[in-house]
């Protein structure tokens, strides 16, 4: 149930599954082990999620793969980890906040690498020494992380065949070393039998299901291609780079082009140029890059040129916390442009939804001849998940093409929908100049009041009056209380509501996919019967809360539950906040 577009659909059951953190420092290979663990889980018919975390070093820094596997779709990380398996402890204590443990957690570490840090032991986790490096050393040509993979996978309850198959398929080096590492895997698996206290997944359904293993960044890139994007200008920035890197070869295969730009000012203007040429175009960036693109986004508004900018949000302001997630670009995305500049702002609410939302963004941008900003974030972008094969929503926007006729062509013709037929260079009889200067219907620069008002109205109307259908939000559950959220936080909210049995509690969920233009009427309809609203988001200022209060009439006394990054909002803390809120607001309503 990666995406639920049916209004009022009950919030699903969620299996807590098992949460495993694989940690280590330079050269320990925990990311590879984590990726293979996820692949093996997919082969075994499980769902899963792997979140990466690492220190600031380019290579050799401390790193951890945070993996959660379950029998039902994994919406987010759990509140705690069942197992922390460390290949070594070099600075791994820095992840103490990210890898919460408790008395029922198991801490596995190599005794040759010293004591487990106090930061982890303090929670009361049970420490068990397990020899990893020495085991690998005993099998010439093998790697320690494969011993760890065998151990972690077996503890999770994955069959050794799934782990072996994952390793074989990923192997790109010489065959002799593959045999050694298969042995290391088996040795790790054998070591697992001495360890108890880690919950094991029940056997999966054999991997027959049609599932995808995909990261949020790949998903957004894929959605873009499916929506018709064939030109990308790229300037690297954490955590959006993988999106662009995935697209470089992928675009070439579908006949498109990716070009590396000299900066974000160039990348956004390059895609505007390509789009003017009739080719659907996209770039991806993070907050600092989005800031640089602002002026050109205004050009796309004014000249009515469709472009898509994916903002993989990270901690801000300024350079902020580049490799950690935060939902703090919302205010900037919805209102950060000089002038009255209506634009589309969409937010993907799960890794799988990065496909559909980006695809929809391309569709809307093309159809409405406007810039679209897609908000993703580091938590989705750089994480991988096993998801049900996402259905193709079929979005592929087509621009309203101009046809040469007897009368002179008016590029910015005032039509009832606000959408004017657009000429593509190379077409005879339709030449015009796209302009960031205010213009009349013909496209001639004009500072006259009449032209300015007409074009402002037109640019606003084409977005405001468009029928966005059911895609504007995911509305789930029913009840007098409504939780409103967006983006990756939706996963945590969904799980929280499932845990709380939201239907019994009387809480519904609204996850907004279209943030601008805000669908105030649909929002009012979705909130019918609601007396209280709680807005949940991962930022410091309550950006969604403030935006909604400025734009819409929310029932009751709207409350905000928010926390900035870098830690994700955990389902447990969200559930607690909801429980308290429902309790408090219900008491308030009862006469004393």
């Amino acid at each position: 149930m990666s995406v639920n577009h049916l209004q009022g659909r009950p919030v699903p059951f969620v299996d807590a599954g098992i949460s495993i953190a694989l940690a280590g420092s330079g050269g320990s290979g925990v990311m590879t082990a984590g990726t293979l663990l996820l692949t093996a889980a997919a082969k075994a018919g499980c769902y899963g999620l792997m979140v990466r975390t690492s220190g600031p070093q380019i290579r050799g820094g401390e790193a951890a793969a945070l993996v959660r596997l379950a029998r039902t779709p994994v919406l987010t990380l759990d509140d705690r980890f069942d197992l922390l398996l460390a290949i070594d402890w070099q600075n791994v204590n820095r992840f103490a906040d990210e890898i919460p443990l408790d008395a029922s957690s198991v801490l596995l570490g190599d005794p040759d690498e010293g004591e487990a840090p106090e930061a982890f032991r303090a929670a009361g986790a049970r420490y068990l020494p397990v020899s990893l490096k020495a085991t690998a050393k005993g099998i010439p040509g093998s790697w320690t992380n494969m011993v760890a993979l065998g151990l972690a996978g077996t503890l999770a309850g994955l069959p050794i065949e799934a782990l072996e198959s994952a390793l074989r398929e990923s192997w790109k080096r010489d065959v002799g070393k593959l045999a050694a590492n298969l042995k290391a895997l088996a040795a790790g698996a054998a070591a697992a039998k001495d360890i108890d206290g880690v919950p094991r997944l029940a056997a999966g359904n054999g991997g027959a299901a049609d599932r995808w293993l995909i990261s949020g960044n790949e998903a957004a890139g894929y959605g873009a291609i499916r929506g018709g994007v064939r030109f990308v200008a790229a300037y690297p920035i954490t955590p959006a780079t993988e999106l662009l890197e995935w697209m470089a070869p992928a675009l070439a295969k579908v006949g498109g082009t990716l070009l590396q730009a000299e900066d974000e000012l160039a990348s956004v203007n390059m895609i505007i140029g390509a789009s003017y040429g009739g080719v659907p175009a996209l770039t991806a960036t993070a907050g600092p890059g989005l800031a640089l693109m602002t002026e050109a986004l205004g050009l796309a508004c004014c000249a009515e040129l469709p472009i898509v900018v994916v903002d993989v949000m990270r901690g801000g302001p300024s350079t902020g916390i580049p490799a950690k997630s935060e939902q703090s670009d919302l205010s900037f995305a919805v209102s950060g442009l000089p002038g009255d500049a209506p634009r589309l702002v969409l937010a993907a609410n799960s890794i799988a939804d990065c496909i559909a939302t980006t695809q929809w963004a391309v569709h809307l941008a093309e159809e409405l001849q406007a810039p679209a900003i897609v908000l993703s974030d580091q938590f989705m972008g750089q994480s991988r998940a096993i998801v049900d094969r996402p259905a193709d929503p079929g979005f592929s926007g087509r621009r309203l093409a101009a046809i040469a006729g007897a009368s002179p062509y008016k590029r910015y013709l005032d039509t009832p929908s606000g959408i004017s037929p657009m000429a593509i260079p190379g077409t005879p009889g339709l030449v015009y100049t796209a302009d960031g200067l205010e213009h009349n219907e013909a496209g001639t620069p004009s500072s006259q009041a009449r032209d300015h008002h007409l074009q402002l109205d037109k640019r606003l109307r084409k977005l405001a009056d468009h029928d966005y259908g059911r895609w504007w939000a995911d509305v789930e559950g029913s009840g007098t209380h409504a939780v409103i959220t967006f983006g990756s936080t939706t996963g945590g909210v969904r799980e929280a509501l499932a845990r709380l049995n939201a239907d019994a509690l009387g809480v519904r969920l609204l996850s907004l996919r279209l943030l601008a233009p805000l669908r105030c009427e649909q929002l009012a309809t979705a909130l019918e019967g609601v007396t209280e609203v709680l807005v949940v988001e991962q930022n410091h200022g309550g950006q969604l809360f403030n935006y909604l209060r400025a734009m819409a009439d929310l029932p009751g006394r709207p409350r905000s539950f928010r926390r900035p990054g870098p830690l994700p909002l955990r389902p447990g803390e969200i559930a607690a906040a909801i429980r308290d809120w429902v309790g408090a607001t219900s008491i308030e309503k009862e006469p004393a």
């Binding site: 030109f231 579908v254 140029g273 390509a274 003017y276 002026e295 190379g426 796209a434």
Partner: protein, 279 residues
């Protein structure tokens, strides 16, 4: 709408002019550059609708709408970025970028360097008048250090930048200097620049009679380069760095391989592409 004149069997310069009367000061060299651009296109006989003129902001950046070609009047300093995206996405179009010295060398300086080294098959025309005209006469990167103006009384004290040397050092494949007072010569150079593969940079000295009336004297200073174009970058560099700044002609025409333009046909459908995600 830049309404083109009805085409005849042979296109003349007039076929590349729009119905709009340029809003440039009477006396401005840009009138002449516009004339040269239209003459160059007439020399090449390329249909107006297959040409796009891309610009940023500034007096000279108003040029797209004055042609009967497709036009793109974007934001300040980013003409080359937009032109690059357009050309790479639509290689079959003839793409000209045009603008002034402030737009191209100051706010757009980084794009200038990288457009030269990227060597996409574009022609970039800079109408250089050593001044910001649209904002009423401030110093630009090519302004003399002692030129007194309101924003920098007594002059900036900063030496002027040599765009041709920068272009050459950055890898432009065609480097030329033209003069607005030599409209037919400039037209020939522009036509040559468009024909030349890769990134062609044409600096056109184009006087601003409003803020730099002394530039009317340029017509007495400009002269044809006494040498033939070279494909030797070192020789061209020496030539450019030692000339008087009024040497008119093609100063370098290289043979660097241009940026490869997309001619690939799709090998996979998006559905087939998804095979890599299948578990």
């Amino acid at each position: 709408m830049n309404q083109p004149a009805p085409p005849t069997e042979v296109l003349t310069a007039a076929n590349y002019k729009s119905v709009y009367k340029p809003i440039w000061c009477p006396g401005c060299g840009d009138f002449s550059v516009l004339s040269s651009v239209t003459k160059a296109l007439a020399i090449l006989q390329v249909p107006p609708h297959e040409v796009v003129v891309v610009s940023g902001i500034g007096c000279s950046s108003r040029i797209p709408a004055y042609t009967s070609c497709y036009g793109f009047h974007g934001v300040h300093g980013r003409a080359l970025a937009a032109a690059t995206g357009l050309k790479v996405a639509r290689p079959e179009l003839t793409v000209l970028a045009a603008g002034g010295d402030g737009d191209g060398y100051s706010i757009g300086g980084n794009h200038f360097l990288h457009a030269c080294r990227r060597n996409v098959d574009l022609t970039y025309i800079v109408m250089d008048n050593h001044v910001y005209g649209m904002t009423k006469g401030q110093a630009s990167p090519t302004t003399e250090p002692d030129w007194d103006n309101k924003l920098s009384p007594g002059g900036t004290g900063i030496r002027a930048f040599n765009p041709l040397v920068i272009a050459l050092a950055s890898g432009a494949n065609f480097v030329a200097r033209a003069f607005s007072g030599d409209p037919n010569g400039a037209a020939q150079i522009i036509a040559e620049g468009i024909r030349h593969p890769g990134f062609s940079f044409i600096e056109i000295l184009s006087p601003c009679v409003t803020f730099r009336p002394e530039q009317r004297e340029w017509k007495r200073q400009a002269h044809h380069a006494p040498v033939a174009p070279t494909d030797d970058a070192a020789r061209a560099a020496r030539r450019i760095m030692t000339d008087d700044g009024f040497n008119i002609g093609v100063l370098y025409a290289g043979d660097r391989t241009p940026y490869p333009l997309n001619g690939r046909s799709p090998q996979l459908t998006p559905e087939q592409l998804a095979a890599e995600f299948q578990t």
